[in-house]
Subunit: 295 residues, 2 copies
């Protein structure tokens, strides 16, 4: 089996995984997604879980990215420090099976005040640049469970910060006193915009969140607007944090469309222009570029 004749790329996260079969011409010809995230794989069960990917997509070389390379995953792939380009990722692959199965390292950022890590997003970020979807110097927002704001410089990841907006929203929605109020879906609109404006202000998020309930109890807000308002609050605070690293670069929002549209709208409310990039397309571009580099 040779990589140039086609390979499988998988983005294997905490709670789910997506795998794509790429043919010799670089075209994605098959794919699947399931809920076998790393937390659902029992100890010693990764060989079987990897084998299953090949059974579904074919017996091809395999490039794995995401939390599968973390200390809770299959084999730990040490972080590549910033500044990190796609060549750095290719050089630091960890080979789980010689010449056949490689794990992409995550990226870390450390300076005197900050420490941050990513796993999985680096393939998309650097893939988007490799495919010409973002400029060599850009601020990329990558929403998800843990939103990443990454500063690209000369086509590499220069620095980044993580905001755990998605996870916090889910915690509040599932387990908090706001659970009933936040259970609907968040949509762009006046309630969302009003939450965003509040979040962009220098307000204390933990205080503003409680007021989601108080406003409804006191008749100042409609319960049906609470999911959009609450989502706006969290995304507004997130955007405020992210814009600190801006400089004068273009701003790109990359990821799943249902999230990128909310972040784009929040950026617009913050007075910033941005464009959206599909995260899956960026992931495939990044995987292909890494495979070219090891070929």
């Amino acid at each position: 089996m040779h990589w140039a004749e086609g390979f499988i790329a998988a983005d294997w996260g905490t709670t789910n995984r997506r795998a794509y079969l790429i043919d010799g011409d670089g075209k994605c010809i098959d794919e699947f997604e399931d809920e076998k995230g790393i937390l659902s794989v029992p100890k010693g069960g990764f060989e079987a879980a990897v084998q299953e990917i090949r059974e579904r997509l074919g017996d091809r070389p395999l490039l794995l990215a995401g939390m599968v390379g973390s200390n809770r995953g299959w084999i730990e792939a040490p972080y590549v420090p910033c500044p990190a380009g796609i060549e750095d990722l290719a050089k630091a692959l960890v080979w789980a099976e010689a010449e056949q199965t490689a794990i992409v390292p995550g990226v870390s950022f450390i300076d005197a005040d900050e420490a941050d890590v990513m796993r999985g997003e680096e393939v998309q970020l650097l893939g988007a640049y490799a495919a010409g979807l973002v400029s060599a110097n850009a601020l990329v927002c990558h929403p998800g469970t843990h939103n990443k704001w990454a500063r690209l410089e000369s086509g590499g990841i220069a620095r980044f910060t993580t905001v755990m907006t998605g996870e916090l929203f889910n915690l509040l929605r599932e387990h908090s006193i706001l659970a009933d109020l936040l259970s609907g879906s968040a949509e762009p609109g006046e309630a969302f915009a009003s939450g965003v404006r509040r979040g962009l202000d220098d307000e204390c998020l933990t205080a503003e969140l409680f007021k989601v309930r108080a406003r409804v109890l006191l008749g100042q807000a409609d319960a049906k607007d609470a999911p959009s308002y609450g989502s706006g609050l969290l995304i507004g605070a997130d955007v405020r944090a992210g814009l600190r690293q801006r400089g004068e670069a273009e701003i790109v929002v990359m990821g799943r469309p249902e999230l990128t549209r909310l972040y784009s709208e929040a950026l617009r409310i913050a007075g910033k222009r941005c464009h959206e990039v599909d995260g899956e397309q960026a992931f495939l571009a990044g995987a292909k570029r890494i495979v070219e580099l090891i070929g």
Copy 2:
């Protein structure tokens, strides 16, 4: 049964309740605490749950405060708007059983920008003033699941804001990616202080929280310090929000000693002096004053 010959006061919250038997001289002569918070009482089960209090402490008139008067509790006692003094609470009691069982209303605050509610803390806040434990003009911090920062003016509650620090810390500790790291106990000390300083800064809490994990992964912080650091972060942000209403009043931290000591320490780090008041003592003083007023 007459109130002046002794009564029972109960602070009946979401997850637990505490009840005290006060004799004719105003002395607490018996008490109990259990986990029969309002969420554990089945629909239609409040009469029995109230009866149980009398079975344990005696067949006396009963003053109930807290979430028992909310729309999820027994009988809803509408909020008294700010400014609210203890006389306002006494006038607005809701009588569940004529002359025998009264429910204390909560307090609301509304202005053009804010909306907030409390239930249960008002008895402690106004009781502390009635007993001379706080001045007529003071900023009172009342930590708990939902921390309240209340501005007392002329002995009444002029305004307040709620910060859901306790609930958020519990959510993170039980359900988040930080769960393992935050499972130990939070103690004042260098790690706590370092979290507080960060929280007091104008940082994005949802970004700082993720870095609790990143700092440990990258060797910048010791995992054993994470509960204190994380608690410091949340309390620092909370204190920053609370100090906005300060004016030049004295600052008082009221509640359970294991929480008040952390908030006192955070206030000290913020350069503020404060003193601590025991929340139970304040509750008993408030209950006695309300009973005097209805006597």
